[in-house]
């Protein structure tokens, strides 16, 4: 009986949390489209989320692209299929590794920073102060963060991640594995299809939504003091990463399931 009660409690609290996050998401998205708008705040968030994430995203995907090329070369040479290396690198990076790695890195950097910033604002009464200054916290704090992440993930970060990831594979293949530069680029371009790029950008937008949603939700609902901010930050990163991996599968199925 106790065991069943535990399962029931866990299920109810899970559904309650899902419901609260759902309502929070609907509110956040609704305020993106209703005035007043805060373009300065949107610009500040776009700069912070997009521009300042570029170095870490670029470095990570550069080395991942190179490592992927080594692995594929080793594997494909076992059955004399080394010529497939450029194709597999570009498809692997663009469809899967570029958006997913970029999402996980941005989740660690941006989701944590949103949760910590909003959590601190909550415990120091800055969010209450916004209300007393006739400003809706959802419009001023949540909507610009969600919109900025959904714009910057596909249109800046994932484009850069995909490009640098493919470049990493190219550099390794041409300098260490003896591939011809021209034929590598030709193979890469020939086998890359529009749907691969579309899937990559769609994933990035979905990941961006979950990264900002989890960061904002946990930060906005912080309780207590410094410990509460720490808990919110951890929860934001963990839940954002889970949602990225889960939605990655769903979007991949949507685009490529036969």
């Amino acid at each position: 009986m106790n065991f069943l009660a535990v399962i029931g409690r866990v299920t109810i609290s899970f559904l309650q949390a899902a419901g609260k996050i759902g309502i929070f998401a609907v509110n956040g998205v609704r305020h993106i489209f209703t005035p007043p708008f805060y373009p300065r705040e949107l610009w500040r968030q776009m700069l912070n989320i997009g521009y300042y994430s570029l170095p870490v995203v670029g470095l990570t995907t550069l080395f991942t692209g190179a490592a992927l090329a080594v692995n594929i070369y080793e594997g494909s040479s076992r059955f004399n299929a080394e010529s497939t290396l450029p194709t597999i690198v570009v498809i692997g990076i663009v469809r899967e590794l570029g958006p997913t790695l970029c999402g996980l890195i941005v989740a660690g950097r941006v989701s944590a920073s949103m949760a910590a910033e909003l959590g601190t604002m909550r415990v120091t009464e800055q969010i209450d102060a916004l209300v007393t200054l006739s400003t809706d916290p959802f419009k001023y704090l949540i909507a610009p963060r969600i919109l900025a992440t959904v714009i910057m993930m596909p249109f800046m970060l994932v484009i850069v991640a995909d490009t640098i990831g493919v470049l990493g594979g190219y550099l390794l293949a041409t300098t260490k594995l003896g591939y011809n530069s021209g034929s590598y680029i030709k193979s890469t371009i020939d086998f890359l299809e529009a749907i691969d790029v579309m899937a990559s950008m769609t994933k990035a937008a979905v990941f961006g939504f979950f990264i900002s949603l989890m960061g904002c939700y946990h930060g906005f609902n912080t309780r207590g003091g410094a410990q509460g901010v720490g808990i919110s930050t951890t929860n934001a990163v963990v839940s954002a990463c889970i949602m990225i991996l889960l939605s990655n599968y769903v979007v991949t199925e949507m685009f490529f399931s036969s």
Binding site: R44, E117, E125, T132, L133, T135
Partner: protein, 259 residues
């Protein structure tokens, strides 16, 4: 004869968190232009009362009227309109870290689209001057200011839009006695300048004696005494006497576990 409508009127205000009742039945009337100070120990419900009036917490029962308009159960747009009448100085100043000092002061003006950024900056600098801060403070970040300066910036922000009602939440907490007196004097001057109604919550008796026209004491979620400041020393209430003299012995029992 026209009856004067109270600026703030609370009747039977009730608020609980789960099974814990914080406000049992608070009745309070603040007339226009009056400076009311609510005193009471920690956890007696002072801050919750303020937050209920501002709509930051939803009461479980009772009535809150501002200028005769019922606030409980009104829509978000109507509430937002009424909130433009308010200014508030928070206990920890609650300045926005991401904005320079002048934008903190001008935030309400810009949010309500009362003027453009250039005019808002000029007003912010003027308000900073009013609370004794030089114009160059305007470009600093709140993190670069001392506690006393942050309180002054918070005060400048509270009066920036010339509100009709100003709330002060523990305005002198964490300040040395001299800075406390400076803040108290500024509060009195600024409230007089803008002709506002003031509601202050504090347990600092020097603030009470400096700021208040009327004083109310809250205890266990009820207002147990209200009267003019001059009568506080002869209230006839043992609770008031114990509180203003800061004695451990008396009818007010602190929840302290003794080993």
């Amino acid at each position: 004869m026209n009856e004067i409508i109270p600026k703030i009127e609370l009747k039977g205000l009730h608020k609980r968190f789960g099974s814990k009742v914080v406000l049992e039945s608070v009745d309070l009337t603040v007339m226009p232009g009056e400076s009311m100070v609510i005193i009471g120990g920690s956890g007696s419900g002072k801050s919750v009362t303020l937050k209920c009036i501002l709509g930051l917490l939803y009461p479980n029962g009772g009535s809150i009227k501002i200028d005769g308009t019922e606030m409980v159960g009104i829509g978000a747009d109507e509430r937002k309109k009424i909130l433009t009448k308010f200014g508030m100085l928070f206990q920890g100043a609650a300045l926005f870290d991401s904005l320079p000092v002048w934008e903190n002061v001008a935030f309400g003006l810009l949010a309500q689209r009362l003027c453009n950024r250039k005019e808002a900056k000029e007003i912010a600098i003027e308000k900073l001057r009013r609370v004794g801060l030089s114009p160059d403070v305007g470009s600093l970040s709140p993190a670069e200011l001392s506690g006393g300066m942050q309180k002054r910036v918070g005060l400048a922000r509270a009066i920036a839009a010339n509100p009709e009602i100003i709330f002060f939440d523990e305005p002198t907490t964490g300040l040395d006695p001299i800075m406390s007196d400076v803040i108290n004097e500024l509060i009195v001057e600024c409230v007089k300048d803008v002709g506002a109604t003031a509601l202050t919550i504090t347990h600092d008796m020097s603030s009470v004696r400096k700021i208040a026209d009327h004083v109310s004491m809250i205890y266990h979620g009820n207002i147990i005494w209200t009267g003019p400041k001059d009568e506080i020393d002869h209230s006839g209430s043992d609770y008031i006497d114990q509180f203003i003299n800061g004695k451990a012995e008396g009818p007010i029992k602190m929840e302290i576990l003794r080993g």
